[in-house]
């Protein structure tokens, strides 16, 4: 298995994995800044405006046509939180030229395209093109308003918002609704320049290429100001224990959504991280886990009942969809599972099943270019260079005592319930 080749050019780190296993080149550019009340909304808006056009191709139709002409190159972006950072990830995937009769290098065309998007945007006067800024403000507003449409996601995000009410992590990565209106094209352009000048920048390419080729193409395509790469700041993982906070929201829904937020205080580079993965796996990561068995299979209370670990923020969350009347019963059953974890009620079968599942997942990463580069990006975020093979070994070595140690750190912080408007 070959590994990532690393380079550095001005403010950006380059990571290239040469492989001919895929029919495509997978490209990702990560730009991260600390989550911050003041900047979160303009930073979220920037990629929306950048994807409307570039100085060379200002019209959106021509801009999209360029992508179609590269055999329908995939182009998109996400804005999300990792730890206490707000990260914009641009993604491109384009097919390897050997499968089509193309007269251009599709990798060169893609990096040229991405370079223009990030460093040569469509401007007018002292700012971005006003028409695009207005349209994308409307798009961003709609995206934020639409969170409520997916009740499962809405409940999960409300739970985190309540749980982290006094930390930057409460902020939504897409920013704040009431700050969108006030953003002007010239001020947004200044935010963009600051962002590009300060963000931690990482470019990943996975495919049939080399660091040398990517370095050359990058030099031709990106116009970054001189400087040295920025690094990510450590997130706040520890939090004072407090009485569990109970929150209820009411809405016209058919099914109640029960969410719980747990503090683990265990981050990605903590030596207990492999044990935290096991804790989450046994509690609610899989169909053989305690939550699925006890909430769904034994009591028929729910269709889904699961837990998820956020290792970058040291949080574990639980989610389930239940009938309104079953709230007390479901909370009681879930709390009993947390207690049984603490009491070390971990069978050999639960240990071996969960180890097998996590190991399978870690091995599968190798089959997807995006999974590989996302995993590798964890090392940029945390400074911990543990490979997936090393993590796999550490997971295999986890003992029940390690999991009980994790359970001792776990605090039930918040219980959130989304229910109907009728009185209980």
């Amino acid at each position: 298995m070959t590994s990532f080749q690393r380079g550095q050019l001005e403010r950006i780190r380059l990571h290239v994995l040469p492989t001919n296993r895929f029919k495509t080149f997978a490209i990702s550019l990560f730009a991260g800044v600390p989550l911050d009340e003041k900047n979160v909304t303009p930073v979220a808006l920037i990629p929306f405006v950048l994807r409307r056009g570039t100085a060379k191709t200002p019209e959106t139709i021509a801009f999209r046509e360029k992508l179609d002409d590269m055999y329908g190159a995939g182009f998109g972006f996400d804005v999300y939180k990792r730890g206490d950072s707000q990260i914009v990830q641009f993604r491109m995937d384009v097919i390897n030229d050997r499968f089509v009769s193309s007269n251009q290098s599709l990798l060169a065309a893609s990096l040229g395209f991405l370079g223009d998007v990030l460093t040569d945007p469509c401007l007018e006067g002292n700012g971005f093109r006003a028409k695009y800024v207005e349209a994308e403000k409307a798009t961003l507003r709609k995206r934020l308003e639409a969170i409520v449409n997916d009740k499962i996601r809405f409940a999960a995000e409300r739970c985190i918002e309540e749980m982290c009410a006094d930390e930057p992590y409460r902020l939504h990565p897409l920013g704040k609704l009431d700050e969108i209106d006030g953003i002007q094209p010239d001020a947004l352009y200044r935010s963009y320049e600051d962002w590009l000048q300060n963000a931690a920048l990482d470019l990943y390419v996975v495919g049939d290429t080399t660091l040398e080729e990517v370095t050359k193409l990058f030099r031709e395509s990106f116009r970054l100001k001189p400087g040295t790469p920025a690094s990510y700041t450590r997130p706040q993982l520890k939090h004072d224990a407090r009485e569990t906070k109970f929150v209820v929201d009411k809405m016209d829904v058919s099914q109640g959504k029960l969410n719980m937020g747990l503090r683990t205080g265990i981050g990605y580079d903590d030596k207990l991280y492999p044990a935290a993965l096991m804790y989450n796996g046994i509690l609610g990561g899989y169909p053989h886990s305690k939550l699925f068995i006890n909430v769904r299979e034994k009591e028929s209370l729910a269709y889904y009942a699961a837990s998820r670990l956020d290792g970058h923020k040291g949080i574990c969350t639980i989610q389930s969809g239940i009938e309104f009347a079953n709230y007390d019963k479901a909370v009681e059953i879930i709390k009993a599972q947390l207690e049984s974890m603490k009491a070390g009620q971990l069978s050999d079968l639960e240990m071996s099943q969960t180890k097998a599942m996590i190991s399978g997942h870690l091995r599968e990463l190798q089959d997807s270019a995006y999974e590989m580069l996302s995993y590798d990006f964890n090392s940029v975020l945390t400074g911990n260079n543990r490979t997936s093979a090393e993590l796999l070994e550490q997971v295999q070595a986890v003992t029940p005592a390690d999991i009980v140690e994790v359970a001792k750190h776990v605090q039930l912080d918040t219980v959130y319930f989304l229910r109907d408007r009728k009185e209980a």
Partner: protein, 430 residues
């Protein structure tokens, strides 16, 4: 064992139909850690009236194919998820209109996992108690979808398009219909549709084809299946016109959702003809209303659509329709904008540049799909159950002409065949 070479995509497929009728396909992927296997029956939510051989046709409760899928995971010795977990495999299943698919993905103990997959699907275990227990779980699944606005607008549209064809019935059925399901009916459906001759096993990933065939052959040789007559599926005759031109529901959403569907007047295509029809229709929709089309950009600039807007084309032998739509602040203005754009395209036709661009884009998308074992297995099975070959899709895109696309456009878009489904914002306190 038959070897099928597809040099234009650098893939090789191995195929064999066993004595009991089971079709097995293996696609080795060199360098892949993971193996992904699907075991599928050509049995979905639309198969609600059927008979085998000389039997009398019988109607079964809505949602039973999906109910059966849930129940297959239970064996006398317990839940089969636990067995897969002990062997390091993630298992799952899903039910669509026309098939039920059981699957696992794993990086080790591939042979043990394959045996488990085949054996649990070929070993039904239904009791009154375990059937009743499942009703509460599926009721919560149905309620979860009731709160899902995207699901409601989409299935609302299909319900508006079709009078009698069971494609308009929710795949999971209704809370009322699932409470009518009992173990006897489950066994009857099982025995009809889970005969090996109605099933396909697809294995893709880091495997040796010959080893997989040896394992499956010996597994099947140790079991006996009665020969089965032809399965006959019955559908009430479907009127040509749409059932409800405009269907509206209210839910707590931030923006209304609006979908337009055009129902085909003529159906009945099969095999390669159906594949060509689908490819031409998809190309046509992309050139007309894909993200780089003039129509898309104009609607986006008028703030009538957002990134949520999309289009798709669904077809089978008995039903076929397009779907266009997404979130919009003003459903009526979006409907009008789409009607005007479509009418203009019918008058002027799609130009050759847009056509060539969409074609390249579709070819690129198809090749990208081949990176994903999950997509390959899912798509291959979908096409195979309609007697066509997924690996012919590339050829079809390459052969498709501008004239065909313009003919398809003019044939497909008939405003008499339009139905609209809308999810309006509910007002708080009502």
């Amino acid at each position: 064992m038959e070897t099928l070479q597809y040099p234009n995509v650098q893939e090789t497929l191995y195929r064999e139909v066993l004595d009991n009728g089971l079709e097995v396909i293996v696609l080795p992927k060199e360098g892949f850690q993971k193996t992904y296997a699907t075991f599928s029956t050509k049995y979905g939510s639309v198969d609600n009236v059927f008979a085998v051989g000389v039997e009398e046709p019988k109607r079964v409760p809505d949602g039973i194919a999906h109910f059966l899928e849930h129940k297959m995971f239970e064996e006398p010795e317990g839940d089969i998820f636990a067995v897969f977990a002990s062997q390091g495999a993630s298992a799952n299943a899903y039910t669509t209109f026309d098939r039920t698919v059981y699957l696992f993905s794993a990086t080790e103990q591939i042979h043990a996992n394959l045996e488990t997959l085949i054996n649990f699907v070929q070993n039904p275990y239904f009791t009154d108690a375990n059937v009743n227990k499942e009703k509460g779980i599926i009721e919560q699944e149905i309620n979860m979808y009731r709160d899902n606005a995207d699901w409601r607008v989409y299935f609302g549209l299909i319900d508006a398009l079709y009078h009698t064809h069971p494609v308009h019935i929710d795949i999971a059925g209704t809370v009322e219909s699932i409470y009518q399901i009992d173990k006897e009916t489950l066994y009857r459906c099982y025995e009809t549709f889970y005969h090996p001759s109605n099933m396909l096993l697809f294995v893709v990933g880091g495997v040796d084809a010959e080893e997989v065939f040896r394992l499956v052959r010996s597994n099947q040789a140790a079991k006996s299946f009665k020969p089965q007559g032809e399965i006959k599926r019955y559908f009430d005759s479907e009127p040509v016109n749409v059932k409800i031109p405009r269907k509206v529901v209210e839910l707590p959403v931030s923006l209304p959702k609006c979908m337009l569907g055009f129902k085909e007047k003529r159906v009945g295509l099969e095999g390669e003809a159906l594949l060509r029809h689908e490819v031409t229709s998809k190309l046509m929709l992309d050139a007309l209303i894909g993200p780089s089309s003039k129509l898309y950009q104009s609607l986006y600039e008028q703030n009538l659509i957002s990134d949520s807007f999309g289009s798709e084309y669904n077809s089978s032998r008995d039903y076929a329709f397009s779907v266009l739509g997404g979130d919009t602040p003003d459903p009526d203005a979006l409907i009008q904008g789409l009607r005007d754009g479509i009418a203009e395209a019918i008058r002027n036709g799609i130009d050759s540049e847009s056509f060539e661009r969409s074609k390249r884009k579709k070819i690129g998308g198809y090749l990208r799909m081949l990176n994903s074992p999950e997509s390959i297995a899912g798509e291959f099975t979908r096409y195979r159950f309609r007697d066509s070959d997924m690996f012919d899709v590339l050829k079809c895109y390459e052969a498709c002409t501008l004239d065909e696309v313009n003919n398809r456009l003019r044939e497909h878009f008939d405003f008499e065949q339009l139905a609209v489904s809308i999810v309006e914002k509910s007002k708080p306190g009502e």
